[in-house]
């Protein structure tokens, strides 16, 4: 009975004016709650999840686009300025969405497993870090011994140029690495990319001598940002001060600017991916993914197309790297570990290989899990530890719980569980790609057909 009424409810929700009303209600509720209690995680999650409602309910595409743009461009930045932590989470989500979408081209479309994806991110980051800081003049000095007041090599506005350069350099790196190994079977590529990721990290760690290129494990800082004119800050304050409740400084607005830049990159990646998906190249990639031998037999140029996918993925990572370097004003080898690559991979796998909404959902989920839920859980445990509470049945005092048990530090466990369970139970992800959905839908008639054929042959 309950099930029946639930399906009925689901039907009603998708009919008539209901989707519009519910979507608007969700967005409004989220916005108001976050506005009223800027520190509540639940309110924030409610606001972020309204993107999901917007996607899932059947509304007019123009309505989706306008409301989505309004939320992304106005509500989120303004809410974010009120609580910097949200802005940080949102920025992290957008960075990882962009990375996951880039990796999705490589893994989801062309079926090439890239385990060193973060290496290309590092290439982009170190490119701007070197040219956008004083590092050029630090070259002859060992880390920590450079004289003060060195000049900057380039003005901060050169950043925009380097966003394009990062695309080119990362793509070239991808081609250089890919051309020898893309001829081999996929699992070799996985290991070589993994090795390459480690090589890049070790180089970043060790290239502080004989010439100090990367400043070693300490990393490069400060890295310049592009200028943000005072007039922009003033006009933002003029419009939004009543809502924000205070004057916003330039440093805060920088975060908004980098968030918007990341959003811009994401939109470009989505447009490129959508255009590619059903183009000749996209179909060739799918053919390669499904069956290389058959693809070659149909005249698909294997190596050059694989290189293309590899380079495209690498270039998106490169531009996000440059963006990250500028927004943090600091890069160090720590940020480019193997775990980051696997993190991005588990986002893609969780959401659904080859599915754009899926990958966005995956990236957002994993980032929020990492930054908010695990952290919140750690905080909760440490509060329990300080209290006198006892677990009832087994009579275990929370105070005796080891301080080592800190969920925020066990991201690998999380990534591992995501990867294994998704592979076993739902390899196509939470939101499977359209093509896969079509395949799954046509599975049953296919089976019947195969059955009749077999019987016919018998």
């Amino acid at each position: 009975m309950a099930r029946f009424s639930l399906t009925n409810l689901l039907k009603t929700v998708q009919q008539g004016k209901w989707p519009y009303i519910l979507t608007l209600a969700h967005v409004l509720l989220g916005t108001i709650l976050v506005f009223l209690s800027p520190r509540s995680n639940i309110a924030f999650l409610l606001l972020v999840s309204s993107f999901g409602t917007l996607y899932a309910l059947k509304t007019d595409n123009r309505f989706k686009l306008v409301l989505g743009a309004f939320m992304a461009l106005v509500i989120i930045p303004v809410i974010g300025v009120r609580n910097i932590f949200y802005l940080e989470v949102i920025f992290q989500i957008s960075v990882f969405v962009a990375l996951a979408l880039g990796l999705n081209i490589v893994v989801g479309f062309a079926g090439l497993l890239n385990l060193g994806y973060v290496a290309f991110y590092a290439v982009g980051a170190y490119l701007w870090a070197f040219f956008g800081s004083q590092q050029y003049y630090v070259l002859p000095f060992a880390p920590g011994t450079q004289p003060p007041n060195l000049p900057f090599l380039l003005p901060g506005d050169a950043f925009y140029l380097f966003m394009f350069l990062a695309i080119i350099v990362a793509a070239l790196t991808g081609i250089l690495l890919g051309s020898p190994v893309l001829r081999l079977r996929g699992d070799y590529l996985a290991i070589v990319t993994l090795g390459f990721g480690e090589v890049i990290r070790q180089l970043a760690n060790n290239l502080d001598k004989p010439l100090n290129f990367t400043n070693g494990p300490q990393g490069i800082t400060p890295i310049q940002r592009p200028t943000l004119p005072q007039s922009v800050v003033d006009s933002f304050n003029a419009v939004f001060q009543p809502i924000v409740g205070r004057q916003v400084e330039t440093s805060t607005l920088y975060n908004v600017m980098f968030y918007l830049l990341a959003l811009f990159v994401i939109i470009i990646i989505i447009v490129v991916t959508l255009r590619l998906e059903d183009s000749k190249i996209g179909r060739a990639w799918t053919a390669i993914r499904e069956d290389e031998t058959a693809a070659v037999a149909m005249g698909v140029p294997l190596v050059s197309l694989k290189l293309g996918a590899f380079a495209a993925g690498a270039s998106f990572a490169g531009v996000m790297g440059a963006l990250m370097a500028a927004s943090r004003t600091f890069v160090s080898p720590e940020s480019f570990s193997f775990m980051q690559s696997i993190g991005v991979l588990s986002m893609v796998i969780l959401g659904g290989l080859g599915s754009i909404p899926g990958v966005i959902l995956g990236a957002a989920t994993v980032t929020i899990l990492n930054l908010q839920i695990l952290q919140g859980f750690s905080l909760y445990l440490s509060q329990l530890r300080q209290s006198d509470a006892i677990i009832p049945i087994i009579n275990f005092a929370w105070r005796d719980l080891s301080t080592q048990l800190d969920p925020a530090k066990y991201q690998r466990l999380l990534f591992g569980i995501i990867l294994v369970t998704m592979m076993i139970f739902r390899p196509s992800g939470i939101i499977p790609a359209q093509r896969r959905r079509r395949e799954q839908a046509s599975d049953k008639p296919d089976e019947n057909q195969a059955g009749t054929e077999a019987r016919g042959k018998g």
């Binding site: 079926g111 385990l115 699992d187 070589v192 466990l413 592979m423």
Partner: protein
């Protein structure tokens, strides 16, 4: 008894010993010759001058004096790599799949062995043990590590790989990466909950830290002793024994025949009455226990272990397996020894040859560089069949 020994195939016992000897001596001679030649050529260059300035000997003497130690170290680590590489290569041979979690199986073996020894040490048993007992306890720890790692490998196969058999190639690989990550943090979690820390130290006992000294050499006034530490000797000998047993198991027993049959053609082997699932589980058991033993030996040699200890040896053993020709047991042995030697040579001499600009920290990069070079020029490995795309 007599009948049992009568059936032992002496040739299969001796063949791997001969191969090990040939590979060790061959790679040692070849690499020494190359390095000595390079040293002779660069003796008068700036690099040679800087060595004279630092050590007060010519580059050639410096290389020559250090050579015996480098060879022994290279051989030790080479045998560890070979033992791990056999786990990769056996699974690859049977399932055509890279068991990415093998490096964590290795780590689990190391932790089980070390935890047992630490417990024995804290109970005061190791401190008072006679030399013979010390060796027995070490063997016990190695066996425990083997059992733990072997059964873990079987469990991982059953839970995370078997349901995915027949799926697209990348699916089990991604699952294996997941298992690897999961196990890393699981070790960390268990260790930090039970012991409060996750760096464990191999206890000092027996005479394992002593060195057998063969003689002394003079280098610019400082005396250099030539010798081999007992630990290295133990590592090399135990690895050799395990490799001989494995070779015998695979090449001269009925089970080995079944493993080879499954590797060659799974459906046909199944038609011939081989229980394929059992053989695959057995392959994981054997590969895993070899990895576990290698873990304990690694811990004995390098003393300190942490939950991420498996990562680099794992990757390098994989490189070794690819270098020898993945799926090929002899190849894994050759690849392990050659890679261990190459890496130790690079780690020891890079600094002297590049005037200190690039030192031992580049030896990991060196191993990956070799992997890429091998894949470019000889993707089937030194002894393997063709693995290139069927296109």
């Amino acid at each position: 008894m007599k009948r049992f020994f009568g059936t032992i195939n002496i040739r299969e016992l001796m063949r791997p010993l001969g191969q090990m000897l040939a590979f060790s001596v061959g790679s040692a001679l070849a690499l020494s010759a190359i390095v000595l030649l390079l040293a002779l050529l660069m003796d008068k260059s700036a690099a040679g001058q800087s060595v004279v300035a630092r050590f007060n000997v010519s580059l050639f003497t410096y290389v020559l004096v250090n050579l015996p130690q480098v060879l022994i170290d290279g051989l030790t680590i080479g045998f560890v790599y070979a033992a791990i590489a056999l786990g990769y290569t056996m699974v690859y041979g049977v399932l055509e799949f890279i068991n990415f979690a093998h490096s964590e199986i290795f780590a689990v073996g190391a932790f089980v062995g070390v935890e047992i020894l630490i417990a024995l040490d804290e109970a005061g048993i190791l401190g008072t043990a006679s030399l013979g007992m010390a060796y027995l306890w070490l063997i016990f720890a190695i066996l425990a590590g083997m059992i733990a790692a072997g059964s873990l490998a079987m469990a991982v196969e059953r839970i995370a790989y078997r349901p995915l058999r027949g799926a697209a190639r990348l699916v089990p690989l991604i699952s294996a990466i997941g298992v690897s990550f999961f196990l890393q943090d699981l070790i960390r979690l268990v260790e930090s909950l039970t012991t409060g820390q996750f760096n464990r130290i191999f206890p000092t006992f027996g005479n394992f830290d002593e060195r057998l000294v063969f003689g002394q050499m003079d280098m610019g006034g400082t005396a250099i002793t030539l010798g081999i530490s007992i630990k290295s000797l133990i590592v090399i000998l135990s690895a050799m024994i395990m490799l001989v047993i494995l070779n015998y198991l695979v090449n001269a027993t009925k089970i080995g025949k079944a493993i080879r049959a499954v590797a060659q053609d799974r459906p046909t082997a199944s038609l011939m009455g081989v229980d394929v699932n059992r053989i695959i589980a057995l392959t994981f058991l054997i590969g895993g226990s070899l990895g576990g033993a290698a873990g304990v030996l690694y811990a004995a040699k390098f003393t300190r272990i942490d939950p991420f200890v498996g990562f680099f040896p794992g990757i390098k053993a994989f490189t070794a397996a690819v270098m020898g020709g993945i799926g090929n047991l002899t190849g894994a042995l050759l690849g392990g020894i050659v890679l261990g030697m190459l890496e130790t040579f690079a780690g020891s001499y890079l600094s002297a040859f590049t005037m200190g600009a690039a030192g031992a920290e580049y030896k990991d990069i060196f191993a990956f560089g070799i992997l890429i070079l091998v894949l470019i020029f000889r993707p089937q490995g030194l002894m393997g069949e063709n693995v290139a795309q069927k296109a």
